[in-house]
C-alpha cells in the first residue's frame, strides 16, 4: 500500500478543462472519497490516477514513483468500475484469477489467492457460477475480489455502489468499510452521494467545476465548509443562505437583518465586498414567535424523527429542522431564529467562508 499524491494536475478535452490545477495528498491506508456533482471532474481525476486517462499537465505520485505517464498496466493499482465490468465470458473464478495470470503466478498460488479473496468477500460458494446468474450484490463482491487478489498499491473505485438499490447499498457500504479496516488498503472512492461519502470516508475532497474546493475529514467538511458550494452540497437539506447587503468588519459579532440584531461568531476576516451571505444549517435554526426573520410556512416534510419546515421569507425559502412535536400549518406566520452561533459568513466575491471564532 502506498500514499498517493497529485501535484498541479490538469486535464483538458479540447477546450473543456475537466480538472483544473489540482493538488491532493492521500495518505497510506486512508479511505479517501472524491465527492461532487456529475461533471465536476472527480471521475476524470480517478481515471488519471488509474492511468486510463493521461494528464494534460501535472504529476501523480504512487508511493515515491511518478506514474503520471505510465500505462494503467504498469501502475499496480486496482479499479472497481461502476458497472463492475466483470468479464461475461468467464466464470467467477476465472474473473478473479484473470489479473493474477498476467503476473505469472503459479497455478497453486493463484488458487490460494482466489480462495482467500473469495472467503473474505463470502463468495466462495459461487466460484463456479456464471457472471450473468449473479445478483447485483454478488457482482459487486466479485468486482471487489478481482481488485483484491492482486494486492495492489491502491484501490480506486468509481461509484461502485451506484447501481445497487438503496437497501443493498447500505449493506455494501458497511461491508466496504469493514473490508477497508480489515485490509487497510489505500482507497480512493468516487461518488456523488454525500451520505455514502460521509459514512465511508476518512477524508473527503469536495469537487466542483474541475476544482478541489475542500479536502478534509467529514465532520470538518460538514461543520466548517470552505465555500458556499460545499455548504450547500453537503447535508440534506443543504445549508440555508441569507443574502446580506453589508460588509463584514474584523471583530464584528452582531449582524442586523430586517431590523433584528443577530449574534454571530466574532469575525476574524474582513469581507471584500458588500454582497455577502449568512449561512446556517437547518438544525441550527428554530421556529419562534418573535425576534427572528418573519415568514410563512410553505411546506412541512415529515422525516420520522424530525420535521423539515420550509419557511418563505423575504430572503427566499429557509429550511428549518424541528422536533417532531412542533406543529405548524401551511401559510401560518412564523419567525425563524438561530438557536446557536453555528453561523458562517460567506464572502460574496469569492464564495469562500470568512474566518471567525467558529471558523478558525
Amino acid at each position: 500500500m502506498s500514499k498517493i499524491k497529485i501535484v498541479n494536475l490538469q486535464k483538458s478535452f479540447g477546450d473543456f478543462t475537466a480538472v483544473k490545477n489540482s493538488n491532493l495528498t492521500i495518505n497510506d491506508k486512508e479511505f479517501f472519497v472524491l465527492l461532487g456533482p456529475s461533471g465536476c471532474g472527480k471521475t476524470t481525476t480517478l481515471r488519471m490516477i488509474a492511468g486510463l486517462e493521461l494528464p494534460t499537465s501535472g504529476e501523480i505520485y504512487l508511493g515515491d514513483e511518478e506514474v503520471g505517464m505510465l500505462r494503467a498496466s504498469e501502475r499496480d493499482i486496482a479499479f472497481v468500475f461502476q458497472l463492475f465490468a466483470l468479464y461475461p465470458h468467464m466464470n467467477v473464478k476465472n474473473n478473479l484469477s484473470f489479473p493474477l495470470k498476467m503476473q505469472g503466478y503459479s497455478r497453486s498460488e493463484i488458487k490460494t489467492r482466489v480462495e482467500e479473496a473469495a472467503k473474505l468477500l463470502r463468495i466462495d460458494h459461487i466460484l463456479n457460477s456464471n457472471i450473468s446468474s449473479l445478483s447485483g450484490g454478488d457482482r459487486q463482491r466479485v468486482a471487489l475480489g478481482r481488485a483484491l487478489v492482486r494486492r495492489p498499491k491502491a484501490f480506486l473505485m468509481d461509484e461502485p455502489l451506484g447501481t445497487l438499490d438503496a437497501e443493498f447499498r447500505e449493506l455494501m457500504c458497511l461491508e466496504l468499510k469493514k473490508l477497508h479496516i480489515d485490509i487497510g488498503a489505500t482507497t480512493v472512492y468516487v461518488t456523488h452521494d454525500q451520505l455514502e461519502a460521509m459514512s465511508l470516508a476518512d477524508r473527503i475532497a469536495v469537487m466542483d467545476g474541475g476544482e478541489i474546493l475542500q479536502a478534509d475529514e467529514p465532520s470538518v467538511i460538514y461543520n466548517k465548509p470552505a465555500t458556499k458550494f460545499v455548504a450547500s452540497f453537503i447535508g440534506s437539506p443543504g445549508m440555508n443562505f441569507i443574502s446580506i447587503d453589508q460588509g463584514i468588519s474584523n471583530e464584528q459579532s452582531t449582524l442586523k437583518i430586517e431590523g433584528t440584531d443577530f449574534i454571530i461568531p466574532k469575525q476574524h476576516e474582513i469581507s471584500k465586498g458588500k454582497k455577502n451571505s449568512f449561512g446556517i444549517r437547518p438544525e441550527n435554526l428554530s421556529l419562534t414567535n418573535e425576534g427572528g426573520l418573519k415568514g410563512s410556512v410553505f411546506g412541512v416534510e415529515y422525516l420520522g424523527s424530525r420535521k423539515i419546515v420550509t419557511v418563505k421569507t423575504n430572503f427566499g425559502e429557509i429550511k428549518v429542522k424541528t422536533d417532531i412535536s412542533t406543529s405548524v400549518k401551511i401559510n401560518e406566520n412564523v419567525q425563524v431564529k438561530p438557536s446557536n452561533d453555528n453561523i458562517i459568513i460567506f464572502d460574496g466575491e469569492t464564495d469562500k467562508s470568512l474566518k471567525s471564532e467558529f471558523m478558525n
Binding site: A50, G51, L52, R71, A72, S73, I77, A78, F79, F81, L83, F84, A85, L86, Y87, P88, H89, F98, P99, M102, Q103, I131, S132, S133, G136, R139, R146, R150, T163
Partner: protein
C-alpha cells in the same frame, strides 16, 4: 373471448399469417435446391427426361462422373479387361467406358476451400482490428474514412474487373491462391469493418479498461476480453464473408484458370458425352453447397446466443 392475452403479444391470426409466409418462402427457396440434389442422384437419361421424373431410381453415376475422367471403349476391349475391382469401375464399364484418371474437381474444390476460408479469416481479422480502432480511438477523419470504406461497396465489384485483371497480370497475382485471397478480402473488408464496428460499439469500454488495469496491454485486452465478447458479430461477419467468397464467380472466371481455379467456374464446364452432364453438375453443386451450410450451422449458435447478456447493468 380470450382476454388473457397481453396487448404486446401478437394475435393468433397474425402468428398464423407469419407462419404461412415463412413456410411458403421456405418451400420456394428449397425447390431449386432439392431439384439440384435430386438431379445429382439421377442417371444421365432420367435427368433430361420429359416430363421430369420426380420419382426415379437413385444412382451415384453423377458423383462418379464428377470425380473421374472416362473414355469410351469398344465392347471387345472392355471384355479383354480383368473384372472391375470396385463398384464405381463396374458402373462406368456398364456405360461402355473406362476410368482414365481422377478429374480436376477435388483440386478445384480444395482451391475453393483455401481461398474461401483464407479470405474469410483475413477479412474478419483485419476487419475486427479496424473496427476496434474506429470504435475506440480518435481516428483523424474518422467519418470520411468510414464512408470511403463503405463506398467501395457502392458499385458491383465486377465493375473494376479490367483494372484488376491488368494489375494482377503485372503483379503476377493472376491464377494464384494469394491473389484470390487478397481480392476477396478487399471486397469483404468494408462489410466486415462496418458490421463489426456496430458490435464493438456495443461492448462497453470498461471491459478493456478493467483488463488493462489488471496488467494486460491493449492488444492483449483486445484478444482476451473484446474478441470473445464480439463472437456474435464475428460469426455473422464470417458467414457473410464466407458466402461471398465461396460463391464468387465472375472474378474467378476472369483471374483463375489452372492453379487457383475455384469450384464455381469449374462446375459448369463438366461436359459429358453429347452435352452437359447434368447429374455430375448436380453432384458438384450439391457438394459445393455443403461447406457453407455446415459453416453456417456451426456458427449459428453464436448468432443466437447473446453472451454479453446480463453482464453489465444498463
Amino acid at each position: 373471448m380470450d382476454t388473457s392475452r397481453s396487448y404486446l403479444e401478437p394475435s393468433s391470426f397474425s402468428k398464423k399469417l407469419a407462419a404461412t409466409i415463412i413456410i411458403v418462402y421456405t418451400v420456394i427457396t428449397l425447390i431449386p435446391i432439392s431439384w439440384m440434389v435430386m438431379t445429382s442422384f439421377k442417371n444421365v437419361n432420367s435427368a433430361i427426361s420429359y416430363p421430369p421424373e420426380v420419382l426415379f431410381e437413385p444412382s451415384l453415376e453423377g458423383y462418379v462422373n464428377l470425380f473421374t475422367n472416362r473414355s469410351r471403349q469398344s465392347q471387345e476391349y472392355l471384355d479383354s479387361l480383368p473384372a472391375p475391382e470396385t463398384w464405381y469401375e463396374e458402373l462406368v464399364r456398364s456405360r461402355e467406358m473406362v476410368i482414365t484418371g481422377p478429374s480436376k474437381f477435388l483440386g478445384r474444390y480444395s482451391n475453393s476451400m483455401i481461398i474461401g476460408f483464407g479470405s474469410t479469416f483475413a477479412s474478419v481479422f483485419l476487419g475486427a482490428l479496424a473496427a476496434y480502432a474506429f470504435s475506440r480511438f480518435r481516428v483523424p477523419l474518422k467519418d470520411d474514412l468510414l464512408f470511403f470504406i463503405l463506398s467501395t461497396r457502392m458499385f458491383p465489384p465486377i465493375a473494376v474487373a479490367v483494372p484488376i485483371f491488368i494489375m494482377y497480370r503485372k503483379l503476377g497475382l493472376g491464377d494464384t491462391h494469394l491473389g484470390m485471397i487478397i481480392l476477396y478480402t478487399v471486397v469483404n473488408l468494408s462489410l466486415a469493418v462496418w458490421l463489426l464496428k456496430g458490435f464493438m460499439d456495443e461492448i462497453p469500454k470498461e471491459y478493456e479498461e478493467a483488463a488493462m488495469i489488471d496488467g494486460y496491454s491493449r492488444l492483449q485486452a483486445f484478444f482476451k476480453v473484446v474478441l470473445p465478447q464480439a463472437m456474435t458479430g464475428i460469426a455473422a461477419t464470417a458467414i457473410f464473408c464466407m458466402i461471398f467468397s465461396w460463391n464468387e464467380y465472375a472474378f474467378a472466371v476472369l483471374l483463375t484458370q489452372f492453379n487457383a481455379q475455384t469450384a464455381p467456374p469449374f462446375i459448369p464446364t463438366i461436359i459429358g458425352e453429347g452435352g452437359l452432364d447434368w447429374p455430375a453438375i448436380g453432384a458438384g453443386t450439391t457438394l459445393f453447397l455443403l461447406p457453407v451450410m455446415i459453416f453456417t450451422i456451426i456458427l449459428r449458435k453464436h448468432l443466437l446466443r447473446g453472451i454479453t447478456f446480463g453482464a453489465v447493468r444498463k
